[in-house]
């Protein structure tokens, strides 16, 4: 099965963390960058969901997306609020807090609830961390920066946070939920994750039109362009993989 070279989890984690943080830190200058950072985190998170959900959670893939954003939103609020004036530290504190919460929940899931999934602790940590980056990234592109009071005014009070929460969760859980199965491939999933992240970015652009005015149009247009690009890539992957499906006949009576 693994004759196709897959991108290693460590590379993707680095891509998600560095890309996500760079995007968030650039968001005060270009709000659209926050969303692009969040797309990096979506791609990372979707791959982490893939690794843990492969084992079969018993509750469906969506549950893990919801817990990810649940942990992420708590950590994001904490990290952004606790740093007060040192707002530069906010996203990093959020990331660390999310990782710690994820680690604790992962440890409990593995050792107390006894889920017997070897990658549970690591994946839960990664999923929580990417959830926090997704929340901060998309919020930053709606609010214009990542300062807590500003996000409260422009994202929480008007209810945009619900869209960030839900669409962000779907962006993260949908790729594996849609691609899972015997012929699932990492490449295809990553492109789909890019496209769900980009369509979320377009939605955040609509919200940003309301909060930031014309500045939001850049997020909207860029989101739609990225979505078309990633969706075309995903489309090509689907066609490439579909051509290689062959009939295997009936299952043999004896195991080889």
């Amino acid at each position: 099965m693994s004759d196709i070279k897959e991108i290693s989890p460590n590379t993707l984690a680095l891509f998600g963390i560095i890309g996500g943080l760079i995007g968030i830190y650039l968001s005060p200058y270009a709000p659209a960058a926050g969303s692009i950072g969040a797309i990096c985190a979506v791609i990372w998170g979707a791959e982490a969901v893939r690794r843990v959900a492969k084992y079969g959670l018993g509750t469906g893939v969506p549950s893990i997306g919801q817990i990810a954003l649940g942990m992420g939103i708590i950590a994001a609020m904490f990290g952004l609020a606790i740093v007060k004036d040192k707002i530069l530290a906010g996203p990093i504190v959020s990331l660390i807090t999310a990782s710690v919460i994820g680690l604790i929940i992962g440890w409990f899931a593995q050792n107390v609830i006894k889920m017997k999934i070897p990658v549970m602790i690591r994946c839960m940590t990664e999923i929580a961390a990417s959830g926090a980056l997704i929340i901060i990234g998309y919020s930053a592109s709606v609010a214009g920066n990542y300062e807590f009071n500003n996000i409260v005014n422009l994202v929480f009070d008007n209810g945009v946070i619900l869209a960030v929460f839900w669409v962000g969760a779907v962006a993260m859980l949908h790729p594996f939920n849609a691609c899972l199965g015997p012929d699932e491939k990492q490449q295809r999933l990553l492109y789909l994750a890019g496209s769900t992240g980009a369509i979320t970015m377009a939605l955040m652009g609509i919200a940003a039109l309301m909060t930031l005015g014309l500045g939001g149009a850049i997020t909207l247009v860029l989101g739609i362009i990225l979505w078309l690009v990633f969706y075309k890539k995903f489309w090509d992957e689907v066609y490439k993989d579909a051509a290689s499906v062959v009939g295997t006949g009936l299952i043999p009576k004896t195991e080889a």
Binding site: S63, I73, V83, K84, A109, I113
Partner: protein, 240 residues
């Protein structure tokens, strides 16, 4: 920051309790998952998280509505409002689902986990179709579901009440939004954790699985909610 302050400790403890209530609630709700959607298992045909979070969030809406119009409301009143909202939401879901199972899918309501319904004393096993795990929503599951959603709604109301008490003096205008979003986060975490313990389907309080999984799930939820409580209190340090 004085974390040793008894009021603060009490608030953290209350958030821990409310998370545990939400976790406990999930076990009462008859969750059938995908098999129930095909009428091959007892319960409502959707996932644990959807049902717990759905009923809990309606509870959150009703309790916040109560709190918004009666800011002097006592804790029990806010919790009761949450419990009512959540219970009504889940009861109507089960009623509508029951109509579809009875008149659309045409299956007799039967539980595969018990021989006799503990409430109506009707025999169950003879009505369970071969190869299935029961169908529809029998009386015990319905009652268990209403009780469970009530617990979940009360938990949601409690955490909202506690957080409003903490945040209102600091950020008057945005306290409801911040408290609501934080409650939502705690809610999702606490409805997914038990769903991993339950592992897909549970019929309610009479299911043998109930006794097996409740202790460890409740312990996990309590610890995680306490951590969330500490975080919720620490957030106030950054509010101005």
């Amino acid at each position: 920051m004085a974390v040793i302050d008894p009021t603060m400790l009490m608030n953290i403890f209350l958030i821990g309790i409310s998370g545990t209530l939400i976790c406990l609630a999930v076990h009462f709700i008859p969750v059938g998952g995908a098999p129930a959607a095909m009428a091959q298992a007892t319960g409502i045909g959707t996932g644990t998280v959807e049902l717990a979070a759905g009923s809990g969030l309606v509870g959150l809406i009703t309790s916040s509505y109560m709190y918004a119009y009666e800011p002097a409301a006592s804790m029990t009143l806010v919790m009761a409002a949450g419990a009512m909202g959540a219970a009504i939401m889940l009861a109507s879901t089960m009623l509508a689902g029951g109509y579809i199972y009875a008149y659309g899918v045409a299956v007799p309501f039967a539980s595969a986990q018990v021989k006799k319904d503990p409430i109506t004393r009707e025999r169950q096993d003879i009505y369970v179709s071969k190869g299935t795990q029961g169908q529809g929503i029998p009386t015990i599951c319905f009652v268990s579901g209403v009780v469970g959603s009530g617990l979940g709604g009360a938990g949601g109301g409690l955490i909202y009440f506690v957080l409003m008490g903490i945040y209102s003096p600091l950020i008057a205008a945005s306290a409801a939004a911040v408290a609501g979003v934080f409650t939502m986060g705690v809610f999702y975490v606490n409805s997914v954790i038990p769903s991993y313990g339950v592992g897909g389907t549970i019929e309610g309080v009479h299911d043998p699985k109930f006794r097996r999984v409740v202790p460890k799930d409740v312990l996990t939820s309590f610890v995680v909610s306490i951590i969330c409580g500490v975080i919720a209190i620490m957030i106030t340090g950054g509010m101005s």
